[in-house]
Symmetry: C3
Subunit: 142 residues, 3 copies
């Protein structure tokens, strides 16, 4: 499979917390960064997920929010991935921002040019990628 998701992050299932309808899947990305996904229990079963299983986390770039100075706020989003701005590629209205996490994973966000200016984003600056767990799609080889 090839997918349009800008973020296709390789990782390994660390732990599964089962709910009545949805399960929480904790993933260790290559390099050690952590990611949490919420998927239906039905999907956990159909994908055959279990601790140690290799998975790919698919996240479209417009679903990723970017924050700076994240330390002075607490947020409800489960994934708050700290890193450093790797690149800022501006378009007419939107800008692509790449954030390199500590473990080396690159997360790509698409945000408006206005937001880039408001945050003063530039290569080398610290930034946090914010991703709701329910926005992560998991994939495994069939």
């Amino acid at each position: 499979m090839k997918s349009s998701a800008r973020n296709q992050l390789n990782g390994k299932v660390l732990q599964i917390k089962q709910g009545a309808v949805n399960d929480t899947i904790e993933i260790e990305l290559a390099g050690g960064d952590r990611l949490v996904a919420v998927i239906t229990s039905e999907s956990t079963q159909s994908l055959g997920l279990a601790a140690g299983r290799e998975v790919i986390a698919l996240i479209k770039a417009p679903w990723v929010m970017v924050a700076t100075q994240a330390g002075n706020m607490k947020m409800s989003a489960r994934n708050q991935l700290a890193g450093v701005v790797d690149h800022v590629t501006a378009g007419a209205v939107n800008t692509e921002v790449g954030i390199r996490l500590k473990g080396g994973t690159l997360v790509t966000a698409i945000i408006t040019n206005d937001s880039v200016q408001g945050l003063g984003l530039a290569k080398g600056q610290e930034a946090t990628a914010i991703i709701k767990a329910s926005h992560v799609i998991l994939a495994v080889p069939a």
Copy 2:
């Protein structure tokens, strides 16, 4: 009502699976394609949903992911709608991709130009529209 959602898909409720908080609504689109939506049980009641009820599924184009060669992967997203690329309309940064499902429903995605190139998308090619069930909004006449 008129809405900005690029995807406004007409269908009929096939089945409702009730949960404690959320319900899973299975929909047959005009032409026979299937779509699954997850909405709150409260919404199921306030919309008066029941098997046979006509509904409109609203999905914004940036919420749709596109995959090719989907057969060799399994994914947690409930909606994996196979079809053929109907049109590819490029903008400066983003491209609109229309996928015609087997039953005739047209699903529109907005993905980056880079992804279009990475997937080699072109009119007539097989492609799959990936939509999380929790990203589908349902509407009925008031």
Copy 3:
């Protein structure tokens, strides 16, 4: 914290409805408009949410749908915020639409230029911002 979310809405928690996994947080925005967020119960606790607590609701502009003539349809999305178009700023493919709610809160949506034409959106016109409760991220000072 500064974030890329175009919508950073100040409000106060009115009520919390607890579920097994997710909680529903009802918020009164400055000016009296209402917003509902669904977040995990874990987040409710880690943020220390309770009635009366000040919060910031973060919503990326592409997650906001715009509807007109909303009265003749019922929708599953929990947030259907009526207001008046404040501004329409067109880009090459996408347009930013600002909707001023009755209480004064400005909600910003990004929709395609085609949708703007289809809806005939213009400054001063009545319009409704549609936001799924699960697409709202809440933040509080740390």
